[in-house]
Symmetry: C2
Subunit: 244 residues, 2 copies
């Protein structure tokens, strides 16, 4: 497999794959690094790339079985996957079931406040501008994404949320919120991209309320690796959820 | 006229008026003070209350003549007006024709960038939280304002914008952006509230591009009073715009 680095992100490397049969596909390697606060805080742990790849794959396969189109094609090695190559839409799509993090703080609400319905938010993907919150009219008028596509992203994000809330509930985890990204393939179809893992979800243990996600790293709560492993293990026990 | 202070804002005082015939109405006094950056910067100039009252009245009468319902009832004295008493909706509604100020900065765009269509933004009116930008879904879910009312606010804000762009153009001014507030009367009708003046508009001279608004105070450009007076004088020359 001959590959050329296309892009290195905070937690992943994306490579082009040489050879005809891989046209339109890329190779994604999950790194062991952890970052927070727009990469002002950095860390890593051994095996993180493998764990996140396995969690992401589990979730992509689950979502595909529920008719949600994702970029996942197949796993390779211990910490990589082959995916469809997409033109990423420059919006981070956040879904919240319970208030936590930046939105709770911004509106002076307590972390853990319940919402009357799931909230979808868009953030403009731009590190230099610190990924600002963007309204649909702003995103449309400033040319980040058109209103029709955003309406589809919202529908997809809410569908993914409903599926994942159910999945995690079976794993005794409350899905507080998560961030996803989408991209367009060469046929202009919108697919779920990036990854879904404890790096970009908030997961609270249903009984103990313990945080089982990157907030352990952000807030120096310790046992970061242990909870990532625990999330993976709980998901693995739900194999029957995936109609393979 | 016996009045009781109900509320003192940064640029206005609102009084209840005693007596049967004034039920449902309040008395608004325009102060000489100027503030910027969530009141971190403070100033004032003699006669500002009178000038802003006159500009606001001119605009309210103009909008009423175009079938836009406002809270204005009549002027009193040199710096005050009687208005309908409203339950203010806690959203600042901003309309932008050209990018300037916070939104230009937030998205790394140059001040003066033209927009493909007017942009409407909502900010949650809360000084302690520094009036954060709020999406329609956030405002609805967090209980600030329902989606149907926001849709009406947007329509009204765009209608007001179209009317004011035309009005100011006749006064040789470009309406860059403005902020308005709305409130509900006892019949649950939504009326335009607060004021429209150089305190809450960006106005650029059509020919010289000179700033004719509160940015002169915000950015220490000098001649603050002179431009407020000039805006009022240019509007006064357009008396025929108001179908009295």
């Amino acid at each position: 497999l001959i590959k050329t680095l296309l892009y290195e992100g905070k937690a992943k490397k994306v490579y082009a794959i040489e050879g005809h049969e891989n046209n339109g596909k890329v190779f994604i390697e999950f790194k062991n690094s952890l970052t927070a606060f727009n990469a002002l805080k950095k860390g890593e742990f051994e095996g993180k790339g493998e764990i996140n790849r396995d969690i992401a794959t589990f979730i992509f396969k689950f979502l595909e079985s529920k008719k949600v189109k994702t970029h996942w094609v197949k796993d390779i090695g211990s910490n990589s996957m082959v995916t469809h190559q997409l033109q990423i839409i420059p919006l981070e799509v956040v879904v919240r079931n319970t208030l936590a993090g930046s939105t709770a703080k911004k509106f002076g609400r307590n972390e853990g406040s319940e919402l009357v319905r799931p909230l979808v938010e868009f953030y403009y993907k731009n590190d230099a501008l610190e990924d600002p919150l963007v309204t649909e009219d702003q995103a449309d008028i400033l040319g980040f994404c058109d209103l029709e596509t955003m309406s589809y992203l919202k529908t997809q994000a809410l569908k993914i949320n409903a599926l994942l809330v159910g999945l995690f509930q079976k794993a005794k985890l409350h899905l507080v919120d998560f961030k996803v990204e989408f991209g367009k393939n060469s046929n202009n179809e919108v697919l779920l991209a990036d990854e879904i893992s404890p790096d970009c979800c908030r997961l609270w243990d249903l009984e103990t309320k313990e945080k089982m996600d990157k907030d352990r790293f952000r807030r120096d709560l310790g046992h970061v690796k242990e909870v990532y492993v625990e999330v993976l293990n709980r998901l693995k026990k739900l194999k029957e959820e995936i109609n393979e």
